[in-house]
């Protein structure tokens, strides 16, 4: 079921109404309003990208990534009670202690994976399926693994309904990766574990990239970017998504 998108200006009121269990009546202009909210969000994401350029090395996110975010209806990936906040630039709870990442972080992670049209990607931690859908807009095939059964089922069904035929969802242990489709051009590990599973590094193509967000749910997610060069040598770095320097002055 599609809920009515609120106007940006009335977002707060809409949240209050949603909280009270009151849903505004739907109209034919739904899609137009969702689209308008999405456009506003994308503009905000580009502003954040510019602000964090020093740390991320990207002053603007590429047109392809932005177009992918514009194509995916995020409101279909959040619980109905959260639909009014679907295009707020913030993480939202999706049940089972999991969240759908902040859109700006999704954009940044996607950008860091440097997706190409022919790529094959692996995702560990499907969650709502939103990240997989964004990647599916950009690459040839996405394989995604989820360890929470109801989430895997819901994401699989949702992606099928939205016509993402190039995404395959599997319920199981992400630690071992998905060797049948390896090697991968890019791997994203959203189910942050204590360690990066060695099998995943093995399943990454030379020249491939792995992105791992770390941190508590709802909190600023530092990203770890792992790169495997053409000779198979691995290097890592932290990409901080917040333009914040703890030291003052010129030290």
């Amino acid at each position: 079921m599609t809920r009515c998108p609120p106007r940006v200006s009335s977002r707060w009121l809409a949240q209050l109404l949603l909280l009270a269990g009151f849903m505004p009546p739907c109209a034919a202009t739904d899609e137009a309003r969702w689209s308008q909210a999405r456009k506003a969000l994308l503009a905000e994401i580009q502003r954040d990208a510019a602000a964090t350029a020093d740390s991320t090395g990207r002053a603007r996110f590429s047109a392809r990534v932005i177009a992918a975010l514009d194509a995916v209806p995020r409101h279909r990936f959040v619980p109905a009670s959260q639909a009014g906040s679907a295009y707020d630039n913030r993480p939202l709870p999706i049940g089972h202690g999991q969240t759908i990442s902040q859109p700006y972080i999704v954009a940044l992670m996607t950008e860091l994976l440097a997706p190409e049209p022919g790529d094959v990607m692996l995702e560990v931690g499907t969650g709502s399926g939103y990240q997989a859908a964004v990647l599916a807009e950009l690459v040839a095939r996405v394989h995604t693994i989820e360890i929470v059964e109801p989430l895997a089922g819901a994401a699989s069904e949702r992606l099928r309904q939205l016509g993402y035929n190039n995404v395959e969802v599997r319920l199981g242990d992400g630690y071992h990766g998905w060797p049948e489709h390896a090697p991968y051009d890019g791997i994203i590990v959203t189910a942050a574990a204590d360690a990066i599973p060695p099998p995943l590094i093995r399943q990454l193509k030379p020249g491939g990239r792995m992105v791992i967000p770390v941190g508590a749910p709802f909190f600023a997610q530092d990203l770890i970017l792992l790169e495997k060069d053409a000779k198979g040598k691995v290097s890592t770095r932290s990409v901080l998504p917040v333009a914040f320097v703890p030291l003052t002055g010129d030290r």
Partner: protein, 768 residues
């Protein structure tokens, strides 16, 4: 009222006070399980405003209630009994998610719902006390004594019950005590029998799952349980916390914090242990093969073993035992493992059999202060969760593990050439790392040692390990450190002679902030660096043990501007929540105190209303302020914070109750008050100047608990006198003002506890 009725009323007040304090103690435990640390004290403090609200309600309506005192007393006590478990069940059903607070201010509404619901039982209990004071006003001091002694015993008994019963069963027990209290005082039969009976039935009928803690879904345990194949194996509940063991054969746990990115070894089967639904640690089911422990060489905490041969090791905070296994893998001569939670220690003992290991139950600081051993290595593992550490949810948690004095204590136990290794989570931009370094520098300087030659730090992508050496680090040591970093993909942050280019090679950061901080902290302008750093990273001390409190007000505007990028989450919300709580509690208290004044009108004889108001306000503020200060000061002395807290809390209340009884027997109230006042000042000066004694003075922990009781008893005894003396006088002059004074006392206690925390932290940040 006859003697018998008076005695029964006093007994009822005592029983109800005990039940109410037990409810408070149990709330702390329940909330610690289901919520994040920050919100526990906040919710309980605000709920305690129910006391103040009761005073207000009685001041407004008390006169109309008094003619039917018995019925109203029994009704209110019965309502306490039912609402204590029922409101808890309702509160935990609210969809409050504290982690979302910075993103979604609507969460504040749920938070308010939480504390309003939980304040109801306090309201009903305090109504009973206020009614009793108004009803038997010539015997206020005796009733007040019963209230205090009952509360003191209630705190002790509740803590004891937590060793024996699941926390929800303990809550039901406290509620039943409340129902019994409702049946004691004289009242019409229908009220005295029917109401408590109805309450009892309701309490017994409440389904257990409604009362059992339902942990917020974002804590580690529920998340682990949502994974296919996860099964709870056992639960161990005690005042130290709720331990839950989880096994997963389908998707095994592979807990290896701080492991190198280049690690390739497999991790053996683990049994996960969650403490209060979070802070996971893992017990290892060792298969007897040496190579199945080799992953323990792949963490930053393995660094000290590169510099030592066959060391005598002390592990502080053994948890699931990873650091103990690590020591055994590295051929440790002997290992002493200290763990505070007896249930955790039992699990560890059952999983690890090696004649070289000796286990000790106790607090890390307490152990080090009373121990006489000499160690080649002291390992302090991070005991909190990685996620929790980043979320700043424990910002207001006291930690005596990471203070200047703590490091000096550890250092004193090192053999010549021995190493102290402290491992913490890595967070960017760095906060904990620079603070720990600053703390170690301060500790060494205080001992007259040049810190630069004796410190080394390395970092991985997830953890960072600081070494403090009892002897200058040699060229060979540094060679081994470099080689270890090279093979494991770690980066050196500091060692004597490090170059800047060495500090950011393997896991690249935008800038080697930790290294820059180390250089600055060892340099001539360390003070300026500390002052300029955007987070508050001054060394933590035993007086201000807020290691996780990094907040500065100057951060607020900058991070609000970065909220789109998630900047606000870099704030340690703990401090802000505390300030917000105080900002809410103060005006609420003011309303509660001022509202009844209009209805009460003037006092007979045109006496001042201000003087008694200020008198009871100051008493309320002082009582809790002194109590909180004593808890903190005697915590380190006893060496087991839990026992210190219970001893001071219970002891204070019981001895103050005795003081109140004493006051009831004195004829000359004015003179008694002067003597009590003088005595309190004297005792306070004594506490500040000479107490508590150094922990080494008595060997055994129970003896230190008894000594704590003895040393605080005179102060508590005297502090029990001013309140009933003042209230008796008020009862004689203007009895209508009794509930008002009672309410002021309730509000002041809440503000006092909040102020104590706020004040310390604000002072700590140099912001006052």
């Amino acid at each position: 009222m006859g003697r018998r009725e008076h005695a029964l009323l006093a007994l009822s007040v005592g029983l109800l006070a005990g039940a109410a304090l037990a409810y408070q103690v149990l709330l702390f435990r329940l909330l610690a399980i289901v919520q994040w640390h920050t919100f526990v004290a906040t919710i309980v403090s605000l709920a305690l405003l129910g006391h103040g609200a009761a005073g207000t309600a009685l001041a407004l309506a008390g006169k109309r209630l008094l003619p039917r005192f018995g019925s109203f007393y029994a009704g209110s006590a019965a309502l306490f009994a039912v609402s204590a478990p029922a409101c808890w069940a309702l509160a935990q059903a609210l969809p409050f998610n504290g982690l979302e607070l910075v993103w979604n201010p609507l969460q504040l509404a749920w938070l308010a719902g939480y504390f309003l619901l939980l304040s109801l039982p306090f309201f009903f209990a305090a109504c009973c006390f206020g009614l009793a004071f108004m009803h038997a006003r010539e015997r206020i001091a005796v009733l007040y004594a019963a209230d205090l002694i009952g509360a003191g015993l209630g705190a002790g008994i509740a803590t004891g019950l937590l060793f024996l019963l699941p926390v929800e069963t303990a809550l039901r027990t406290a509620a039943i005590a409340g129902a019994v209290a409702a049946s004691l005082p004289p009242a019409p039969r229908i009220a005295r029998l029917a109401l408590p009976a109805a309450a009892l039935i309701a309490i017994v009928l409440l389904p257990r799952p409604w009362l059992a803690p339902q942990i917020t879904e974002f804590k580690g345990l529920p998340r682990a349980l949502s994974v296919i194949g996860a099964e709870v194996e056992a639960e161990y509940s005690s005042p130290y916390g709720l331990l839950t063991t989880v096994r997963n054969k389908t998707i095994p746990f592979r807990h290896a914090p701080g492991r190198s990115l280049t690690a390739t070894s497999e991790i053996p089967e683990q049994l996960a242990v969650f403490s209060d639904g979070d802070a996971m640690t893992a017990l290892i089911a060792w298969d007897g093969r040496r190579e199945s422990l080799s992953w323990l060489t792949e963490t930053t905490s393995a660094l000290p073993y590169q510099l030592l041969g066959r060391p005598r090791v002390l592990v502080l905070g053994a948890g699931g035992g990873a650091e103990v296994w690590q020591a055994l893998y590295h051929d440790a001569w002997e290992v002493e493992a200290v763990e505070i939670n007896p249930a955790m220690l039992m699990l560890l003992r059952a999983s690890l059999h090696d004649p070289r290991v000796r286990f000790h139950q106790g607090d890390a600081r307490g152990f080090v202060q009373s121990d006489r051993g000499q160690y080649d290595l002291i390992q302090v593992a991070p005991l909190d969760s990685y996620g929790g550490s980043g979320a700043g949810v424990q910002a207001m948690a006291e930690s005596h593990l990471y203070t200047v004095e703590a490091i000096a204590d550890y250092y004193a136990r090192l053999a010549p050439g021995g190493l102290l290794a402290l491992t913490r989570w890595v967070k960017e931009p760095p906060r904990e790392g620079p603070r720990l370094f600053a703390t170690a520098v301060a500790a060494l300087r205080a001992l007259g040692i040049d810190p630069g030659e004796r410190l080394a730090v390395i970092r991985g992508w997830q953890t960072s390990t600081l070494l403090v050496s009892n002897g200058d680090l040699s060229v060979a040591d540094i060679g081994r450190l470099r080689a270890f970093c090279e093979t494991r993909g770690f980066d050196p942050v500091w060692f004597p002679g490090i170059g800047r280019e060495e500090a950011n090679r393997s896991h690249l950061l935008p800038r080697p902030w930790q290294h820059e901080a180390a250089v600055a902290l060892l340099g001539d302008h360390a003070d300026r660096f500390l002052a300029d750093y955007k987070f508050h990273i001054e060394p933590a001390t035993d007086d201000r043990p807020y290691f996780f409190h990094f907040f500065r007000w100057s951060l607020l505007s900058e991070l609000i501007a970065l909220r789109g990028q998630g900047g606000l989450t870099l704030l340690d919300t703990g401090y802000l929540v505390l300030v917000g709580t105080l900002a809410l509690a103060a005006p609420l208290s003011l309303v509660l105190v001022l509202a009844p004044l209009a209805a009460l009108g003037r006092r007979p004889g045109n006496r001042s209303r201000l003087r008694p108001g200020i008198y009871f306000l100051c008493l309320g503020l002082a009582f809790l302020l002194v109590e909180v200060a004593c808890m903190q000061r005697y915590g380190l002395f006893v060496g087991q914070p839990l026992f210190a807290t219970v001893a001071v809390l219970s002891g204070f209340l019981v001895f103050a109750g005795a003081g109140s009884l004493m006051a009831s027997r004195l004829r000359d109230h004015a003179r008694a008050l002067r003597w009590a006042g003088g005595g309190i000042v004297l005792m306070l000066l004594l506490q500040v100047a000479a107490l508590p004694p150094p922990p080494g003075i008595v060997e055994s922990m129970p003896a230190r608990v008894i000594l704590t009781l003895v040393l605080t008893a005179p102060l508590a005894f005297l502090m029990g006198m001013p309140f009933p003396l003042g209230l008796s006088r008020l009862a004689a002059e203007s009895p209508a003002f009794i509930p008002w004074a009672w309410g002021i006392n309730g509000c002041a206690s809440v503000l006092s506890a909040l102020l104590a925390d706020c004040w310390q932290c604000t002072w700590d940040s140099g912001q006052c």
